[in-house]
Amino acid sequence: MDQLKLEIKEKIIAALNLEDVTAADINDDDALFGDGLGLDSIDALELIVMLDKDYGIKLSDPKEGRNIFRSVNTMAAYIAEHRTK
């Protein structure tokens, strides 16, 4: 699980062009949106694409994204359960 969380942090940084942010800067429980990492609506959409591309997960309702992407912890849990890749 720790390996998956690290991988997720690195993918977030790459997919969202987060310059000057390293995996070490992102805590597992930090809020990704709003005050935490400050991601926005386009970032959320890009993460939905990442779920599909890298883990083979297609969200049936994009609004689910709000809960899934709350933190690296919630993302890792969701991916571990639903990944097809």
Partner: protein, 362 residues
């Protein structure tokens, strides 16, 4: 002063203005359901032109659309004096890059030059590519250049196609509607794309309408989401009203942008509310044509010219129950009403907004 002298359109409802208008007045929508299309790997709604669109070989499909929309306007108003061709489009011949290369056709000035040559314009055409306000901003730009004395006549032609490029993009934004779009409605859930071309001649004399005021102010907020306070649209309308020397309630109707996304329609309602325009009849024409991108501002202005000329307000197709937080007066059925002033507004990605007010001279 600048005037609207003539106009035409080429749409899924008809290859010219009269046919298009006839079907619109019957409440017909150009939006259909598509499955198994090469344009998108799942079913979608869109307003697409019936094939074949290409009548002139040697010109692309979009160039054919532009030519077919503009030809009657040029025929009725042959080029004379200082005339400019102004082409408005968001993506041009974007299908040409499907092979992954920037081929000649994909360059907007190349496309515009071909159309200009077809009609015999001697001067290099201008191209305006400013997201979904392009078609309407072109009218403001034309008016400004005529007022400055730089040109006597500006022929505007606007067009965009429904393409894999744009459909996939809006799908990625989760912004495509699940049915025909429903501007301002409680159950609206996104954009229905459409394709069309429209043409308008703006001149320094005569005409059917006077361009009374305009404004095109940026939201300075977010590149794809509209301002929550509608700041850019508010300021655009404010400037247009000031220039037209109106305070707002004199407007007989507003042809708004109404894309049927949650955020756009709400933003417009907020801007209209801030300006005290709550009682002015409002429609979005996107229920008939879908969102025609670079053509939308011009096409919807053309239909609105006819609406004003005939004294009939057209219903905002797809609207049943209000789904915006401010009170606005959405037109539900056709209404006979003399029109002295009306306003067209548009908004687009990049935080752009445009408002143009027209005075009916008929």
């Amino acid at each position: 002063m600048s005037f609207i002298v003539d106009y035409n359109c080429f749409t899924p409802l008809g290859p010219d203005l009269q046919t298009t208008l006839g079907r619109l007045e019957e409440g017909v929508s150009g939006i259909q359901h598509f499955e198994n299309s090469e344009l998108l790997p799942f079913p979608y709604y869109a307003a697409r032109l019936p094939e074949p669109v290409i009548h002139h070989p040697g010109f692309t499909r979009l160039e054919n659309m532009l030519i077919r929309a503009l030809a009657p306007v040029v025929e009725r108003n042959p080029l004379s004096g200082k005339s400019l061709l102004l082409v408005s489009t968001t993506k041009g011949n974007i299908g040409a890059i499907a092979g992954g290369e920037a081929v000649q056709d994909a360059f907007l000035p190349v496309m515009a030059a071909k159309v200009a040559r077809y009609f015999g314009f001697s001067e290099t055409p201008w191209v305006l590519s400013n997201a979904c306000v392009s078609g309407l901003l072109a009218v403001a730009v034309a008016g400004r250049m005529i007022d400055a004395g730089a040109y006597e006549h500006v022929y505007i032609v606007a067009g965009d196609e429904v393409t894999e490029f744009v459909l996939s993009g809006f799908a990625g934004f989760q912004a495509l509607s699940s049915g025909p779009c429903r501007p301002y409605d409680k159950s609206r859930d996104g954009v229905t794309l459409g394709e069309a071309a429209a043409a308008v001649l703006v001149s320094n004399a005569g005409g059917l309408f006077r361009v009374a005021g305009n404004g095109a102010v940026n939201d300075a907020n977010h590149i794809s989401g509209p301002s929550r306070t509608g700041e850019g649209l508010y300021q655009s309308i404010r400037r247009a009203l000031d220039e037209a020397q109106l305070s707002g309630p004199e407007l007989d109707f507003i042809s708004a942008h109404g894309t049927a996304t949650e955020y756009n329609d709400e933003m417009e309602a907020i801007a209209f509310d801030r300006l005290g325009l709550n009682r002015v009849p409002v429609n979005s024409l996107k229920g008939y044509f879908g969102h025609t991108l670079g053509a939308s501002g011009l096409l919807e202005a053309v239909i609105s010219f006819e609406s004003a000329r005939k004294g009939i307000l057209y219903p905002s197709l797809g609207f049943e129950t209000s789904g915006v937080s401010r009170e606005i007066n959405v037109i539900r059925q056709p209404e006979k009403r003399p029109v002295k002033y009306f306003m067209k507004t548009a908004s687009g990605f990049g935080g752009c907004n445009t408002a143009v007010i027209f005075e009916n001279l008929n």
